[in-house]
């Protein structure tokens, strides 16, 4: 597969076109709005918490295929999980995406989000992939 095809996997293009969880919760427990200052892309995430568990997640935003698919993948991972576990997931995601191609996401833990593995070799795109994840991290405090 070409380098570019490796970056823009079909799954990424599919999710960018038909994103999952792309709706804001009406009365969220917490929310966060993040902007990528270099391109103006933005993502808002909303979460509903019941104690330490995320019971609902929704997002809204606009941007490139990487930032939009990444938010979509994230939405499939967090509902029903304890906050601490999600925080750990975000930290692990960040480490891999920033690894300049030396690390890969674990399929069992990250599901379809492993399609983003290729991003780690494009340092200019790391912020795109991180946008929604940073927003969720911020919302969780």
């Amino acid at each position: 597969m070409s380098d570019l095809g490796n970056l823009y996997q079909d799954l990424i293009l599919d999710h960018a076109k038909r994103p999952q969880g792309r709706v804001l919760l009406v009365e969220p427990t917490a929310s966060s709005h993040q902007i990528n200052p270099t391109c103006g892309d933005e993502v808002t995430v909303t979460v509903q918490l019941d104690g330490d568990t995320i019971t609902a997640f929704g997002w809204e935003g606009h941007g490139c295929a990487i930032s939009q698919s990444s938010a979509s993948f994230l939405s499939l991972l967090v509902t029903g999980r304890p906050v601490d576990e999600v925080r750990a997931l975000i930290a692990e995601f960040r480490e891999v995406i920033r690894s300049r191609g030396t690390l890969e996401l674990d399929e069992e833990r990250f599901g379809d989000a492993i399609a983003l593995n290729g991003v780690s070799r494009y340092s200019a795109r790391v912020k795109c992939a991180m946008l929604a994840w940073v927003a969720l991290e911020d919302a969780l405090g």
Partner: protein, 420 residues
């Protein structure tokens, strides 16, 4: 007289680089240009043969460094039609605009001799909706510091400035009118004369952002009759870290300093200091001598090509770019009015594909373009966009490169599965 961009390419070794297995097609010269060997050599030679502190010290080396430094000022001044003492060295155009805006606000609290240009509440500062953030935020800040009101000339749907609103927007309350010569997003040449004429009627100062004009067009600041103008060396074949502020002699003389310290004074006591006349009044501290000398060398490089020929080249590439972009389905050129003169630069949106993804696709082919808002968020918002893709040229850009770019761009929607 004309030149062939092909013949220049050996002067720019970086252009021979391969990127992602393709010969580099560098179409991001509006962000920063590449540098010819002559410019790099000039900077190196200065350190090898002449390095010394300038405008201080009396030894032979110091004198020859000072001569070279001041000769460079004369070279750059002549290049833009200014007197030598009307050119102040800055780090870049951004710093030049900030220098003017801070000098104007310092005027409010300066001793009597420097107060003539001070702004007060009720005064107005006028910008345009298409400005680079560097020609917007300093004026927002000046308005905030002085209580002046910031107004702007809006952009029409097609991207042109609403000149029909010049008279009602630039009123007799206007003290400063800040406008760019060439839009860094649209590539179009703005009608500076209309702004100057209106500013003269109401007694306002005109500050010209000439970043995208000085590298590509013959610019004569006296003929334009602007009061201040700024440009950056790194966009015109010179290194980063050096730019210039032009100011009319009597206006620079009327402004108080902004950065103070060594080499900008006549007499200093423990209580106070007397300042040198411009330009040295605005050049406190050790200067960027090697970069100044390199900038003068870049100017000589452009002068050898001839600015009319450089402008022809830029116009020709701009026309080819826009024509090519128009013919690609799903591509919309920003500010595409057809009639306005433009440089070899165009920004565009590709329907259904974010600019970042367009840029990534092109980069995979070795084609370097700019993606994002190009430091002009208000203009993008006005045109209904968050981001766009920009292709921009310089003297070394060939028509074949424009064609390679257009051919690659024609495939981008197919790759992302958008459109037919």
């Amino acid at each position: 007289m004309s030149f062939s961009a092909h013949d220049l390419r050996l002067d720019f070794p970086l252009l021979g680089t391969e990127v992602n297995g393709h010969p580099l097609v560098y179409l991001d010269s509006a962000a920063t240009s590449q540098k010819p060997l002559a410019v790099l050599d000039a900077e190196r030679d200065y350190y090898l043969r002449s390095n010394a502190a300038v405008n201080r010290g009396a030894h032979t080396l110091a004198a020859s460094a000072t001569d070279a430094f001041e000769d460079a000022r004369a070279t750059v001044a002549r290049f833009v039609g200014a007197h030598d003492d009307e050119i102040v060295w800055t780090s870049n155009a951004t710093e030049g605009i900030n220098l003017v805006s801070y000098a104007l606000s310092n005027a409010s609290t300066a001793p009597e001799q420097f107060r003539s240009l001070a702004l007060s509440p009720g005064d107005e500062i006028v910008v345009t909706e298409l400005e680079h953030h560097a020609n917007l935020i300093p004026w927002q800040q000046l308005a905030e510091r002085t209580g002046a009101l910031l107004r702007y000339i809006p952009v029409a749907d097609g991207g042109s400035l609403r000149l029909d609103l010049l008279e009602t927007t630039i009123t007799d309350r206007a003290r400063v009118v800040a406008v760019s010569h060439v839009s860094n997003v649209l590539g179009t040449v703005n009608p500076v004369e209309a702004f100057v004429a209106r500013a003269r009627e109401v007694g306002a100062l005109v500050v010209l952002d000439a970043c995208q004009s000085v590298p590509h067009l013959p610019v004569d600041v006296h003929a334009l009759d602007v009061d201040f103008a700024v440009f950056s060396g790194h966009k015109m074949l010179a290194p980063t870290g050096i730019g210039a502020l032009y100011g009319k002699r009597e206006l620079l003389a009327a402004l108080p300093p902004v950065v103070t310290g060594g080499s900008m004074i006549t007499t200093v006591t423990m209580e106070r200091a007397e300042f040198l006349p411009p330009p040295l009044r605005f050049e406190a501290g050790t200067q960027r001598v090697s970069q100044v000398i390199a900038l003068a060398e870049a100017v000589r490089y452009l002068e050898v090509l001839g600015m009319p020929a450089v402008a022809d080249h830029s116009h020709r590439l701009g026309a080819r770019l826009v024509e090519g972009l128009r013919s690609i389905e799903g591509v919309r050129v920003l500010g595409d009015q057809g009639s306005m003169p433009r440089i070899g630069l165009a920004s565009f949106e590709v329907e259904g594909i974010h600019a970042h993804d367009v840029g990534q696709f092109l980069d995979d082919r070795g084609i370097a373009v700019r993606v994002g808002h190009h430091c002009a968020q208000p203009l993008h918002r006005r045109l209904g966009l968050i981001a766009s893709t920009r292709a921009s040229s310089s003297v070394y850009t060939t028509e074949e490169e424009i064609d390679l770019f257009l051919e690659a761009l024609a495939e981008v929607r197919g790759f992302f599965g958008v459109g037919a």
